[in-house]
């Protein structure tokens, strides 16, 4: 789908506006009822800035604590390396249950593992719908927001799930997934925050699928974008609380705190993929709440189609410049500044959009 097809696709616009109507007042309510969340956000930003200024130190510290706990740790310089590492851990002809993770989208891990002969299943309902439809997540937190109930019913028939309404369909998917969870060889998740103090991985969710994906299989792989490292548990917890509040669901239904447990092999793959050496370091403060996407008037019309192969919208344009070195899409921004206004980290996305343009300008004929 290109940007003009997206523009003509009313379901994208309607889905985004519906989510915005539901979530935006919730964000306001969360911040009014829990004003300390704004202090958490400020504290978090300060800590993240400090970590990013000395990233090698924190990667080393986090790696050592994970290794001390029995986790096998890898460092992937780019997407290809990350896929190869995961491939070696997973092997072939396995059942893999995967939690929704934007960093896995970024490295296109699911498709790669499938090519290796594995059965890979997204366990988040929205992400599963996107997988079955062979589509791209339309929002970083709400991947299937552009599908109607009828369309979802049609898509889910591919896995033998039938139902007359959302409740029946969800129940059918739960039954289908339970079998997969119980038989899974490998579980994969992303990481919302990693504590360098304890090596604990913090993950939030509302469906409960992440805890099943990461605890039931004998082998667990955590994909960790290197910007997710925080100095301690307290900051990691605050990070996921701020993420949930600015998305609009606070408190989140589940907060998972994962670490190596007896009887399970655990692997952590640190993913660089353009992060460590980037001209857009400020974007690494992003906690992926997805609020800038919903609030952006261009994203409201185009969804994640305005973006690279994984990330879209205001934050996605900059993430795409970091991870894919693709940048001409920055010219679709109006630079209206709404993204910066609503961002919990107050990331100056418009200025980075301009910076991308500035770099591109050098390639114009002049």
């Amino acid at each position: 789908m290109d940007i003009y097809e997206a523009l003509a696709n009313k379901s994208i616009r309607n889905g985004i506006l519906r989510s915005l109507r539901n979530l935006s007042p919730q964000v306001e309510k969360n911040l009014q009822e829990h004003p300390y969340l704004l202090e958490y956000a400020e504290e978090l930003k300060k800590a993240k800035v400090e970590v990013l200024e000395n990233l090698d130190f924190w990667i080393d510290k986090a790696s050592k604590i994970l290794q001390a706990k029995g986790v096998e740790v890898f460092y992937a310089r780019d997407a290809s390396e990350a896929r190869n590492i995961a491939e070696k851990i997973v092997g072939a002809n396995k059942i893999v249950v995967k939690a929704k993770s934007m960093v896995s989208e970024e490295i296109h891990l699911r498709e790669h593992l499938e090519k290796m002969g594995n059965e890979v299943l997204e366990t988040d309902l929205g992400e599963l719908i996107v997988q079955l439809a062979n589509d791209k997540p339309m929002h970083s937190v709400i991947p299937a927001l552009h599908y109607s109930e009828e369309q979802v019913a049609e898509i889910l028939k591919k896995i033998g799930v039938n139902g007359k309404n959302a409740e029946e369909l969800a129940k059918g998917v739960r039954i289908f997934m339970r079998k997969k969870f119980l038989n899974a060889d490998v579980g994969i998740s992303g990481c919302n925050a990693l504590s360098a103090e304890t090596g604990r991985i913090f993950l939030i969710e509302n469906e409960g699928n992440i805890r099943l994906s990461t605890t039931l299989p004998k082998r667990y792989i955590a994909l960790v974008g290197i910007e997710k490292i925080l100095p301690n548990d307290e900051l990691a917890l605050k990070s996921v609380l701020v993420q949930a509040a600015f998305f609009g669901t606070f408190p989140p239904t589940y907060i998972n705190v994962n670490e190596k447990v007896d009887g399970q092999e655990m692997y952590a793959i640190f993913i660089d993929n353009g992060r460590k050496v980037t001209e857009f370091r400020e974007q690494l403060l992003c906690i992926r709440c997805g609020r800038c996407q919903l609030e952006c008037p261009v994203f409201q019309n185009l969804g994640n189609v305005w973006g690279g192969s994984a990330y879209g919208g205001p934050m996605g344009v900059v993430w795409t410049a970091i991870t894919e070195k693709r940048s001409e899409i920055c010219f679709l921004s109006t630079l209206c500044g709404k993204c910066r206004e609503v961002c919990p980290m107050k990331i100056n996305i418009p200025e980075m959009m301009r910076k991308i343009r500035r770099l591109l300008k050098k390639s114009f004929r002049g």
Partner: protein, 308 residues
């Protein structure tokens, strides 16, 4: 999307060669003051930055670009860089006269509102395009060159205080020029300086805050204070002030279709009341989706069209 390199290169060349994004001398588009009793001395120099004067022509251009965008004939546009000299005469022919007249009327009203509030003066030769599009497109080098040219002229004329007509010019002169040049002018939007009187306007208006006033310069509350003094019946929508939503105008030259879709969303949020705008780009882009919009300066004045 129209090839950004084409738009950026044309813009840079035109501004650097003529001081104007359309590649013409300012005299050809800057005529509002000819029917106004302007003062040549005073405390505050009125500086329009040419945005109100340019907008009617830009809108005509955008209506043509929209026909090319994402069509089989879009590639023809790459030849536009070789026919720059034809652009303005053609644009002038196809630009509605009433749009030009309205822009002139808006500037006359702003000057009149200022004239009844502060010691304002206007020197047409000093009024120049603000250069903001160069900045927006990331051409900082050309923006700096142009800004230095503008600042030099103003400094040579011993200008200290500048009052502007639109949010883009205000932001350029107040925030960007000091970063890119040695400018140290005191800069205010006209909406900050005027003392409007009671006016008799029927109906309810809804305010569309431009992004630069709402978020970048944060003068939305002040605008409402001024409106209260006039007795105008206005209302706010959920997305106003710092959370205002864009009209889509800033991307109209690169992607008129998406720009229009953004305007449609904003128009829906604003509802059915008459929309008050404070920026020529917002006014023009919202009107592309057939809404009833009016520049705030036309409302702040009495029926005679002039401030008392």
């Amino acid at each position: 999307m129209i090839d950004p390199s084409l738009i950026v290169d044309l813009l840079s060349k035109n501004v650097l060669e003529t001081g104007n994004p359309l590649g013409v001398s300012n005299e050809k588009i800057n005529n509002w003051w000819k029917e106004t009793k302007i003062k040549s001395r005073g405390e505050w120099l009125f500086f329009t930055g040419m945005l109100y004067q340019l907008t009617p022509y830009i809108e005509s251009l955008v209506s043509y670009l929209e026909k090319f965008e994402n069509s089989k004939i879009q590639s023809i546009l790459k030849f536009a860089r070789y026919f720059r000299f034809l652009a303005f005469p053609t644009l002038k022919l196809v630009t509605p006269k009433r749009s030009v007249e309205e822009s002139n009327e808006i500037l006359k009203n702003i000057y009149s509102l200022l004239d009844s509030s502060v010691e304002v003066f206007y020197i047409p030769e000093l009024d120049t395009y603000n250069g903001i599009l160069l900045y927006d497109y990331g051409d900082d080098e050309s923006f700096a060159t142009h800004a230095k040219f503008v600042v030099k002229k103003l400094k040579e004329a011993n200008i200290k205080k500048i009052v502007t007509a639109d949010p883009h010019t205000t932001y350029a002169l107040k925030v960007l020029y000091p970063k890119f040049t040695d400018a140290d002018f005191e800069v205010r939007s006209y909406l900050e300086l005027i003392n409007p009187k009671k006016v008799s306007k029927n109906g309810e208006f809804v305010i569309h805050d431009p992004c630069y006033y709402g978020r970048y310069l944060e003068i939305s509350d002040l605008v409402r204070e001024k409106l209260k003094k006039t007795g105008i019946n206005y209302k706010d929508v959920r997305y106003s002030k710092k959370l205002t939503n864009c009209c889509g105008g800033p991307i109209e030259a690169l992607t008129p279709k998406i720009s229009k879709a953004v305007a449609e969303l904003r128009a829906k949020e604003l509802g059915n009341s008459k929309i008050l705008t404070m920026c020529p780009i917002c006014l023009a882009n919202l009107r592309r989706v057939n809404v009833d919009a009016i520049d705030i300066s036309l409302v702040l004045c009495n029926e005679s069209g002039r401030a008392e």
